[in-house]
């Protein structure tokens, strides 16, 4: 897979209005990813995951979240990274979208919440966008954050 991202300078929105969005920053290995806070229902500590036979490898299994059975996926495996190593920092992010059933996403750790204004975000377009789960790159003093396109991730299952 080509790692070149076609980045377009989208400094200004159409109406020249600068909007801000909050992201939760998570770590997968050495990289940082941002997930739009509006999709996030909850963040829970690592807990026992019941394996489900004969499903795609990125499904880790199901957990019991206050009486609901929720499937949990490994974002690492899904993104093509090597499989997870459970640590005390591992977290499960519960993602809920209106039309979809909730799912859990297993990540290495949850760092912080950042607020990015639209002019801090470079949109990813073209080919790179089509086959990836990154919708944009957020620029911060502390470094770059790949912004995950959750809808794309959910659609791809």
């Amino acid at each position: 897979m080509e790692n070149e991202l076609a980045i377009s300078k989208a400094g200004y929105d159409d109406n020249n209005v600068v909007t801000t969005t909050q992201y939760i920053v998570i770590a997968l290995g050495t990289e940082q990813y941002g997930i739009d806070i509006k999709y996030i229902d909850n963040i829970v500590r690592m807990q026992q995951i019941t394996r489900v036979p004969q499903v795609s490898p990125y499904w880790k299994g199901v957990i019991n979240l206050r009486g609901e059975v929720i499937p949990v996926m490994s974002l690492r495996v899904k993104m093509g990274l090597e499989s997870d190593v459970e640590t005390k920092n591992s977290r499960i992010i519960i993602i809920k979208q209106d039309q979809h059933e909730p799912i859990g996403v297993l990540v290495d750790s949850v760092k912080e919440v950042v607020t990015l204004s639209s002019n801090q975000v470079e949109k990813v377009t073209g080919e790179a966008k089509e086959d990836g789960y990154v919708s944009g790159i957020g620029k911060q003093e502390t470094g770059l954050i790949s912004l995950l396109d959750i809808e794309q991730v959910m659609q791809d299952m």
Binding site: Q48, S56, N64, G67, V69, P71, E101, M157
Partner: protein, 716 residues
């Protein structure tokens, strides 16, 4: 008064009556002399007519009226039930059903008069002329019959007239009476008696008022209109009618209202017969109305005070005296059912599920605390039995007999039999078998498909049957019964059966299978092709079936209900389609097992025994492991292989084998450990992760851990 509040009841009741009529007309065709059936049909039709009338559905009322006429003639023995008449009656029932459907959708009956059917019904009446010549001409006798019916009340009316005409008037009503008199209208006082088992007295009363409005105006009522609307009356009420025409048609209209026991009355004399104006009343009709009424008006004023006093004392005495006696005589059956929204039951069921999970947690904490507190254990055991009973009760509340779905089938088979020119009989058993309401609502269509299939593809033409030495009349059986935690519904026919080779050829022709695949596939695999979309073997496409939709719809529908469909067939002898459905969808008794280090639940329903098997007893047949258990050769399924874990048992160690049954097939599931029996709540795993067929869901154990539920049926 607004009738919309009665609409639901009207729709429900009409459907019930129509179903009843369907069943009875069908019975009538078999046994056209049975007076009980004829009377029952007549009664039902009459009630239906009254209901349609109450609700103001004129077209529906007219059609039912004409149908009722036919039944009335049949009842009187004036005409005989013929096959063509039954056809007409069924058409008529279909048309009525259409009205009901239209009413349900639009609250209006639509504008289809169904004149052809009405004509056909009248033709049935006319046909009588030839068959029963001693009677008068049909039309006349129809009237005659009616007249005769009215005659009796008329006599009664005369006797009762004096009692009836005593009606209380308030000032407004008095004014209305005067106005009516000035307008040269005739005033009639009528006593209406409602049947004592009538549930909706106000609705019936409303219908009476509506019927009266066809002829004239209700100027006064006793009790007051408001009281009647509020059902504040016993079983009778009096109305004062101002009309242009005669009294007879009004009385007849009132009596045509269903659940009206009787109605009679006479000309209202302004005051009362009782108040002493008998001389003037002697020839009421002879006197010129205008003059008469002018006089009456004056008298009314004078008589009013005494009259009111009289009736007031008379009325309570009457109701007080008569009503209790009547009640004692024929106590109406009290309806002891409640209609509940299914959503409320769903939420009740959810709560019960939560309670059972909580109870399971309690059980597991008590176990981990050790067994030294026997009192606690007693309480927990008690709680367990209560929650189990609670669950069963809630489940039972949701259960309805499949009867509501299957009663329409005899009629359908009859129609098909006519259409296809094949004599077919349908035999049904087990209509009382109960299933969850949601399941029952859904199985109607699949069953209909299967029955149509049997009638169209299964049963051969009479000539063919004769040449095969079978009885000319084909038989289709619809049997339902409970089998453990499942309900099985079988559709069986004694027809041709499935021609497996024809299906095989068709599969190759359609490119579904290659020649080699087709040759290699066994009969079962070939038969299962029939459940694929767009695969129909009927040589001719009829409008009954044969368009290639049906069996695949049946399969997907049943599977969506967590059930399954199975076919057994023998060429030349017939086929059996069996549908197996789970009794309940939410909470089951399960056997908890351990495979590798993982816990799994298996529904207890299908489990026969648990065996301890020595590995040396395992034989191999065609590469598959089997055991010989008391003479039965049972295939072994190693669950550790199925779920993909390492067994914790050594190769030479004895194995725990759970023997499960599906239909008449047995299989042995090899597990590592048994935990025990537990009541579990089935939770869906969602669509993302539910890709694997043999996992039917998950459940949350007492300690919060999740165990997956293995669907043994999918593996056998």
């Amino acid at each position: 008064m607004d009738v919309s509040q009665y609409l639901d009841i009207f729709l429900d009741e009409s459907r019930e009556h129509l179903q009843n009529l369907n069943t009875n007309v069908l019975a009538l065709e078999q046994d056209s002399e049975n007076m009980d059936t004829i009377n029952e049909i007549f009664r039902t039709a009459h009630t239906l007519k009254g209901m349609a009338g109450t609700m103001g559905y004129k077209r529906m009322q007219n059609l039912t009226h004409d149908m009722e006429n036919v039944f009335s003639e049949v009842r009187d023995g004036n005409i005989k039930v013929t096959s063509s008449m039954v056809d007409t009656l069924f058409q008529c029932l279909d048309a009525l059903e259409e009205y009901v459907t239209t009413i349900q959708e639009t609250s209006d009956e639509g504008d289809n008069d169904n004149q052809p059917i009405i004509n056909a019904l009248n033709a049935c009446l006319d046909a009588k002329g030839g068959e029963a010549p001693k009677e008068e001409a049909p039309k006349k006798s129809k009237k005659g019959g009616k007249k005769a019916k009215e005659a009796a009340p008329e006599e009664k009316a005369e006797k009762a007239a004096s009692e009836v005409t005593a009606i209380q008037l308030n000032e407004d009503e008095q004014k209305a009476v005067e106005d009516a008199m000035l307008a040269n209208k005739k005033l009639y006082s009528v006593l209406v008696k409602v049947q004592e088992n009538c549930l909706l007295k106000a609705a019936r009363a409303f219908l009476v008022f509506k019927a009266i409005e066809e002829f004239g105006e209700v100027v006064a009522a006793n009790p007051s209109t408001q009281d009647i609307e509020d059902e504040n009356f016993e079983f009778e009420f009096k109305v004062l009618i101002a009309a242009d025409g005669e009294l007879d048609p009004i009385i007849a209209a009132i009596k045509s209202v269903s659940e009206i026991a009787d109605a009679f009355g006479g000309i209202f004399e302004g005051g009362s017969v009782e108040s002493g104006e008998t001389e003037e009343n002697a020839a009421p009709e002879a006197a010129a109305p205008a003059e008469k009424e002018q006089e009456a008006k004056k008298e009314t004023h004078e008589a009013k005070t005494t009259e009111v006093a009289k009736t007031e004392s008379a009325a309570p005495a009457k109701s007080g005296g008569n009503a209790p006696a009547k009640k004692a005589a024929g106590k109406p059956a009290v309806n002891r059912t409640v209609r509940v929204d299914i959503e409320k039951l769903d939420s009740l069921m959810n709560l019960v599920s939560e309670l059972i999970i909580a109870k399971n947690s309690l059980v597991s904490s008590a176990t981990s605390m050790g067994n030294n507190n026997s009192q606690l254990n007693d309480h927990i055991e008690y709680l367990e039995s209560v929650t189990t009973n609670l669950h069963e009760s809630v489940m039972k509340v949701r259960m309805v007999p499949i009867e509501s779905v299957v009663t329409k089938f005899p009629r359908m088979i009859r129609d098909l039999s006519k259409k296809l020119n094949k004599p077919i009989e349908l035999y049904m058993t087990g209509e009382e078998t109960e299933l969850d309401r949601t399941v029952v609502d859904e199985i109607g269509d699949p069953l209909m498909h299967l029955l149509r299939n049997s009638a169209d593809h299964g049963i051969e033409s009479p000539e063919e049957r004769a040449s095969r030495g079978k009885p000319e009349v084909g038989s289709i059986y619809l049997d339902a019964y409970q089998d453990g935690n499942n309900v099985v519904i079988e559709v069986k026919d004694d027809g041709n059966g499935i021609d497996v080779d024809a299906v095989r050829r068709k599969a190759v022709e359609r490119g579904v299978l290659t020649e080699d695949q087709a040759a290699a596939a066994d009969d079962n695999e070939i038969i299962n092709l029939l459940f694929m979309p767009s695969f129909s073997t009927a040589k001719q496409v009829t409008d009954v079936s044969g368009r290639g939709v049906g069996l695949d719809v049946v399969k997907s529908k049943i599977e969506s209900l967590s059930g399954e469909v199975d076919v057994k067939t023998k060429l030349g002898e017939g086929s059996t389609f069996s549908i197996r459905l789970p009794l309940t969808l939410a909470i089951i008794q399960a056997l908890m097992v351990v495979v590798g280090n993982e816990k799994y639940a298996m529904a207890l329903g299908g489990i026969q025994t648990i065996e301890d098997i020595n590995p040396s007893d395992i034989k191999t047949v065609q590469g598959n492991e089997v055991i010989n258990l008391r003479g039965n050769v049972i295939p072994l399924i190693r669950l550790d292989h199925v779920v993909g874990v390492e067994s914790t048992r050594a190769e030479d160690e004895n194995m725990v084998v759970v023997i499960a049954r599906k239909g008449d097939k047995l299989a042995g599931f090899v597990v590592d450990e048994l935990i025990g029996q537990q009541e579990i709540v089935i939770k869906s795993m969602g669509k993302y992760i539910n890709k694997c067929k043999f996992i039917s869901g998950a459940t949350i154990l007492g300690d919060g851990e999740i165990a997956l539920i293995i669907d043994a049926n999918a593996l056998i």
